[in-house]
């Protein structure tokens, strides 16, 4: 039996992005129906790590957007009646050699110019803060304010709050179609068990955003980019906080001129050290990148490359057990920036394509979408995030893989 409902806005996608949008809209007295095809946080948000970082962002718009979002977390942590495991211990980018150190110093200056609390540590200082780092690491870039949390907890907490304030949360209830009137404006969302009359839809469906987009005739260039993770057993502390390798960002930003000292498999699978200690007394090791469609199975060659890279930076972990691996699918866009945008379809918004920054950007996405829908001034100019940037000839940004 189809149950009919009416809502001011239908948010499609129950991951952290959809959850944040629902939270902020509901707090703004907007009647929201959140529709999710599976369980809350069962997609990408349930297969990631809980990063909220600015240290690895491109100086400029990227860092500003991420910093705005990061600054919202402490308050959300206080407001939510749910333990999201939020800690703000800062982050460290480990610098492998002198060539990287030169670039790191410039990078650090640029971030500092943006007002970020960053500093370079030399080889002695870096080992004072992270004693388990390999002997030959020449230094690090430390960023205060970077934090982490339990991503699924964030989704549950935001949704729980929204639900208390009157949002409808519909799970295990996939969207089948979106109906429009003769002028092209949204009228209804048809799901497996409901018909929801609404003038507005937010497409926060992550890697499935293109599927939803096609329901209203829009091409949304989001595709899944697989990342694998290794989970350690609970053990004694190895690193105090989030540690990543600086070299990877250089490869990312320098347009491929810099070559890290890595194996061909590490290169092939886009492996770069990411070390995240968690509240559960264990740590997560990442990261990797490859395009394999919507496949969430792990390839042991990728796991091997990640384990090797992790041991290179933290030799002590070679005797610590891995208890599990998993893979998640980042919603990737060609210029690595998300799409937070109105569209040419009246009432249809897109909030997807956050690639590896979804957790960190979830809150600002929620806020911006709410501001767009309610007609409030935007926290930041979102021109770089428009869907239409992909519909022009050429690319809006020259960032490469």
């Amino acid at each position: 039996m189809t149950v009919c409902k009416t809502a001011d806005v239908v948010v499609i996608g129950g991951g952290v992005v959809g959850a944040a949008i629902t939270y902020f809209l509901t707090r703004n007295n907007v009647k929201v129906a959140l529709v999710e095809k599976g369980a809350i946080a069962s997609g990408t948000s349930g297969r990631c790590e809980g990063d909220v970082l600015v240290c690895d962002k491109e100086p400029g718009f990227d860092t500003r957007l991420n910093k705005l979002s990061q600054d919202l977390f402490p308050q959300i942590d206080r407001e939510l009646d749910y333990d999201i495991g939020w800690t703000q211990k800062g982050s460290l980018l480990a610098i492998e050699n002198d060539e990287e150190m030169e670039v790191a110093k410039t990078f650090c200056d640029r971030l500092a110019a943006e007002g970020l609390p960053v500093r370079i540590l030399d080889r002695y200082e870096v080992r004072e803060v992270e004693p388990y780092l390999a002997e030959d690491i020449v230094g690090g870039m430390e960023t205060d304010g970077d934090g982490s949390l339990y991503p699924m907890g964030l989704a549950y907490g935001l949704i729980s709050d929204a639900k208390k304030r009157g949002a409808w949360i519909l799970t295990h209830n996939a969207v089948l179609d979106i109906k429009r009137d003769i002028n092209g404006g949204i009228t209804k969302v048809i799901t497996q068990r409901n018909e929801i009359t609404t003038p507005q839809v937010v497409n926060a469906a992550g890697i499935w955003a293109p599927v939803i987009g096609r329901m209203v005739g829009l091409e949304i260039p989001v595709k899944p980019r697989q990342g694998q993770m290794l989970v350690s057993e609970r053990t004694f502390p190895v690193a105090r906080r989030k540690v990543m390798e600086f070299g990877y960002m250089m490869a990312k930003f320098e347009g491929g001129n810099y070559a890290r000292n890595v194996t061909s498999e590490m290169e092939k699978f886009g492996v770069a050290l990411v070390f995240e200690p968690t509240e559960a007394q264990n740590f997560l090791i990442g990261s990797s990148r490859r395009f394999v469609g919507a496949d969430t199975s792990c390839d042991v060659r990728v796991l091997r490359a990640m384990a090797q890279r992790a041991i290179r930076f933290f030799p002590a972990i070679k005797d610590i057990n891995v208890i599990r691996s998993y893979a998640g699918l980042r919603p990737y866009t060609p210029d690595h920036l998300p799409i937070i945008s109105k569209t040419q379809v009246g009432g249809f918004y897109v909030a997807a394509g956050h690639e590896g920054d979804g957790i960190g950007l979830s809150l600002i996405t929620g806020k911006l979408v709410t501001q767009m829908i309610c007609g409030d001034p935007l926290a930041i100019n979102v021109d770089p995030l428009k869907l239409s940037r992909f519909q022009k000839e050429g690319r809006a940004s020259s960032r490469t893989n």
Binding site: S42, Y156, E233, C298, V300, A310, I311, I320, V322, R324
Partner: protein, 467 residues
Amino acid sequence: MKEFDLAIIGAGPAGISAAIEAAGMGASVALIDENSIPGGKVFSHTHDHLQDTLPDKIEKRIGSPLLQRLESASSRISLFLESEVWNILDGWIVAVHRKGMSGEQVKSITARKLIISIGAFERIVPFPGWTLPGVFSVGGLNTLAKKGIIPGERILIAGSGPLQLVLAHHLINAGARIAGIVNAVSPRDVLARSAQLLLNVNGSVLKSGFSYLFSIRKQGIPTFFSHALSRVHGTTQVEKAEIVRVDRTGRPIRGTEKEIMADCIAYGYGLIPCCEITRLCGCDHIFDDQLGYWRPQLSEKMETSKPGVFVAGDCRLVKGYPAAIEEGKIAAIEACVQLGYTNRQTAESVLKASWSRLKRFKKFARAMELLSRPGPDLLDIISDDTEVCRCEEVTMKDIRSAVAQGAGDANDIKKRTRLGMGHCQGRFCGQVINELIWKLTGVPKEREVFTPRVPIKPVPFGVLSQE
């Protein structure tokens, strides 16, 4: 990398039998086991004090010769001990983690065919206090007892299943004091199902069974049928136990609680097949309603849904070691037919006798299952403070509140509470989580399992990083 015709994972009765058979037919065999000696749980080292008892004579009559035949076939069978399998790739590449200090560092073993004979493990239902030191699995305490190690002055055996008798026998012979045997099945059901058992058992098992019963009667050990453990008390270890009467569905009858002084508990509801490696290989499994657990789907030829992957022994269906030995033989012969070391005609004639013996064992297995299976309402024993997930200390109260917040399936509960995310990766809590959720939501959905992921057993980063 080492290459073989056949890799056998698990060197218990089924695995050893398979290895001997296959090697005899000319196949190159790798026999892999995580323990330091072959023999599995049943033919593991027996201490001097247990020599010459009837059941052990029987085990020795079968066990010793089998181990000897393995020894004499050692030139054709490569034995990989202290080797834990952590991954299997198609084609078949078995990744092993060699834990021993000495010996060659073998990282993987390639084989054209696989026989999985990893045996069974214990079925549990969590109860208040089950995580206290001094609560042992029945199999765990049995292994200790066989070695003459008695970790308590007053031992209570609880749960269900014929394994209770085996354990009691070994404990008595080791000089232990048994405070009682608590069995959740009613006497009437025990009699009825035992009759079924006796009709389908072979002579040696029958003799063992009677011998166990006799020694228990002789000792005057109090036996409580239709009772289950409802709580175990103690600050740092077991100090006393509380048992409660249960009805035919296992529901505890409040008000019938009794205290029993005990400082050591052996607890289990029979055995269930270990499916982790068959799941890793991608074999199909079915939920066996009578068993109350999963088992791999097999053809008559002991082959799983994955061609070239065979299963034998207790990890297919728990039937005891005589059946396991028979099945190992069958699986090996079938694998050798596929490998070309023998033809179908020869195989058929050899296997005819094995097949008919197996029929009886199957009935025996069914009777054992009925004697072991905990009633569905035994879950009512789980109190709010019971840790359902031992590894992550997730209590029933945590699960209840996750369900109240909208979690409706096992993977959802896992994400919200971390149940199943610890070292054992859901081997214990996974046994009951579906039923618990259904009880709480009132909605019996599709049964979920936790997807097996690499590594299936924890391995050091150093091992994972090796080429």
